[in-house]
């Protein structure tokens, strides 16, 4: 028997493999009902559609890129340039006392990148030299002290992840849905890891008196922004010098900010330079003429400081329409100033029926919690809602339930359920239901 040549041997082997393969494919084909012609034409039309859009499967540059260290402080990818804070020309009195909103639709997980944390300033962002900066602590204390940043960093510190929400979040929509973007309904909301010295560490250092029941926190900005913090909130408060691992951003109070977990953003005084303890609140303009909740009878509630249980769907939302039929990922965020989120329910029919969403880890107290729920969409209209429940048993109210206790004239502290209407086209509108 002649020894077959290497080439001939390879030929026979390959033919055998091809035959086996063909048999296998045929078997699969007859097992499934899809015809070869069908799948080939679907693939071909998908390729044609890609070509029409100018996209190719092969997009890898395969060329030398930007050298190491070209950007000493990194920036997002060029394609992400639309992921920015935005503000509204018509909303607030001046450029100095104004607010910009976090692009919630573009964020994943629970952490807000430092450059996207919403802003609310009452006299702009001051430029502060940290070397010359110190925190003064006085009032009802045994030892009034000045603490430099270096002094503070010698004290024990903590790092905690907490949401920060402006009392005016969702304030444009009390009367009717006014803005069609989650950035402007709920974007006065962010969540960071805050690092700093527990407030009590500093107050103990100063020998705070038992008579002290209130703390005046004053900023070093052009409004010398000042708020009274009740003693019940001191234990969890942090004098923060860092957020998400780096020094505070100027917009967030560089070099120091008071963080009072779970409370309205304006209590978390930025550019913190003075703490004074006392036996009575100061009733500053920013806790009476502003940030107090006016009721229908003309009287206003003082010190409505804790941000109530709340949630919103960020996918889909007006900025993130559904792009095609079939499998979808619904996703959103929930939070409560009273503690951890215990559950989030989602409705597709405007609140008639609900199903529990999945809570993503981590679930932390007074912190954003990400929830998600897979669903199928065949192009029908949807009325999407989310409803959060916190560990104290507080259930997020509908707009009508909220109005039983709050007034539509109070401006602040709107925590009602938001409704997104998904149109047949996949576009999303902010609506109110009756």
């Amino acid at each position: 028997m002649p020894v077959p040549s290497r080439r001939a041997w390879l030929k026979t082997m390959l033919a055998g493999v091809a035959g086996a393969l063909a048999g296998g494919v045929a078997a699969v084909r007859s097992a499934t009902s899809a015809s070869a012609a069908d799948s080939a034409s679907t693939a071909a039309s998908a390729a044609a559609a890609r070509a029409a859009r100018g996209t190719k499967l092969e997009h890898a540059p395969f060329r030398p890129g930007m050298p190491v260290g070209a950007r000493p402080y990194g920036l997002p990818a060029e394609a992400q340039q639309h992921v920015v804070r935005r503000w509204l020309k018509w909303m607030l009195p001046s450029r100095l006392t104004n607010a910009s909103f976090t692009p919630l639709a573009e964020l994943e997980g629970i952490i807000t990148p430092n450059g996207l944390v919403f802003e609310r300033h009452h006299a702009g962002v001051p430029a502060i030299d940290p070397a010359r900066f110190s925190l003064a602590v006085h009032g009802l204390v045994e030892r009034p002290l000045a603490l430099s940043l270096d002094d503070l960093k010698r004290l024990p510190s903590v790092s905690r992840i907490h949401f920060l929400e402006c009392a005016g979040n969702n304030s444009l929509n009390w009367q009717r849905p006014a803005v069609n973007a989650v950035q402007f309904t709920h974007g006065l909301l962010s969540c960071c890891e805050w690092t700093g010295v527990p407030l009590m560490e500093v107050l103990r250092l100063c020998g705070v008196s038992d008579r002290a029941q209130w703390l005046l926190a004053e900023g070093a900005d052009g409004a010398a922004y000042a708020r009274s913090v009740p003693r019940a909130l001191w234990d969890e408060a942090i004098i923060a010098f860092a957020q998400n691992g780096e020094a505070l951003r100027p917009e967030q109070g560089f070099p120091l900010r008071l963080i009072v977990p779970g409370t309205e953003g304006s209590l978390n005084v930025k550019w913190l330079h003075r703490l004074k303890t006392g036996d009575e609140p100061w009733l500053t303009r920013e806790e009476t003429a502003r940030y107090a909740d006016l009721q229908d009878d003309g009287r206003a509630r003082l010190f409505t400081l804790v941000q109530e249980v709340n949630s919103v769907i960020t996918l889909p939302c007006p900025e993130k329409p559904l792009k095609g039929h079939g499998r979808q990922r619904l996703s959103g965020i929930a939070w409560s100033g009273h503690g951890r989120i215990a559950a989030v329910d989602v409705s597709f029919d405007g609140g008639v029926n609900w199903q529990p969403a999945r809570l993503e880890e981590p679930v932390l107290p007074k912190c954003l919690t990400r929830f998600s729920l897979p669903f199928e969409w065949k192009g029908e209209e949807l009325l999407l809602q989310s409803r959060a429940v916190d560990e104290k048993g507080n259930v997020q109210p509908t707009h009508d339930e909220m109005l039983k206790v709050k007034s539509a004239r109070q401006v602040y502290h709107n925590n009602a359920i938001t409704t997104w209407r998904v149109l047949n086209s996949g576009e999303v509108r902010h609506v109110r239901l009756a």
Binding site: W87, L92, P93, S94, A123, A136, H138, R143, L145, A146, R176, P177, V179, N180, E201, R204, L205, G207, D221, G222, A224, Y225, A226, G278, E280, W282, L283, R285, T288, A289, L294, D296, D297, G298, R299, A300, L302, T304, E308, D345, D349, G350, V352, N353, W354, L383, R387, N394, P397, E401, K404, K406, N415, A416, R421, R429, V431, R432, L433, A434
Partner: protein, 250 residues
């Protein structure tokens, strides 16, 4: 006593040493004499260590090992808040006529010649009786609960962006003027630390302290309500959206 957390562990150590010494010298009468001397010596060491830590500060409470004691003069320079009871209001006084001039110079450009407000800059008068009406208007006259607060806010925040730029007399005069144009005081009113806490602001009793009621939802899962109708929809296009200085065309 020094209250810094770093210092506290030192005390048990010293007590431990004392106990060892006591045991060693127990029994002999002269040992008590030595003890007394030792105690005095220890006390001296502790006191002088604290004095060294306190640096130049003597006489007052001891400084801890972190931070520097503030002097009364330093505190006075920083301590510029005023409470409803008048605590913290500085010396000085100002009248309505002076306030009128100062208003024209420092405030009218933004708040309007008659304090009526301009664009989105708030009015500083008007709105009486509006708080429970259709269009509540929150002004010094209609809403603010106490007069020292008007001093406090103008002092710390006005003219916009310039904290503590006006002298106490100037702020008193501006407060006198603003209270007068709101019909709260006569034109001979003189604002001072003595008079402001006694001014009866129209809405003084309009603010409610906590606790406040909490809005409660209901956790129902099936057939929770009749099929809903859409009662209102936000306009699809957003108006006046800004990125930095640029208006964004939606």
């Amino acid at each position: 006593m020094c209250g810094s957390p770093e210092h506290q562990p030192a005390q048990p150590r010293q007590q431990g040493r004392l106990r060892t010494l006591t045991a060693a010298f127990a029994g002999a009468l002269w040992a008590w004499l030595a003890m007394a001397l030792l105690l005095a010596g220890l006390a001296f060491v502790i006191v002088s260590a604290q004095a060294a830590r306190a640096g130049e500060q003597t006489g007052g409470p001891q400084a801890p090992d972190i931070g520097q004691m503030l002097t009364p003069a330093e505190i006075a320079a920083l301590d510029r808040d005023a409470r409803p009871d008048g605590a913290g209001l500085p010396a000085g006084a100002g009248n309505v006529a002076q306030g009128e001039d100062l208003y024209a110079t420092h405030c009218a450009a933004c708040h309007g010649e008659f304090a009526e407000g301009q664009g989105r800059i708030p009015a500083l008068l008007g709105g009486e009786g509006s708080l429970n009406g259709e269009a509540p208007m929150r002004t010094i006259g209609s809403y603010w609960p106490h007069a020292p607060g008007v001093f406090d806010y103008i002092h710390r925040a006005m003219p916009e962006g310039h904290a503590f730029s006006l002298k106490a007399e100037e702020v008193y005069a501006l407060v006198a003027y603003l209270l007068h144009i709101n019909g709260i005081v006569e034109d001979d009113f003189i604002a001072s630390a003595r008079t402001l806490p006694r001014v009866m602001m129209p809405n003084r009793n309009g603010f409610i302290r906590p606790p406040h009621p909490v809005a409660k939802g209901r956790r129902c899962m099936r057939n929770c309500r009749p099929a809903p109708d859409i009662s209102a929809e936000a306009p699809a296009q957003m108006e006046g959206v800004m990125i930095g200085e640029e208006e964004q065309t939606p």
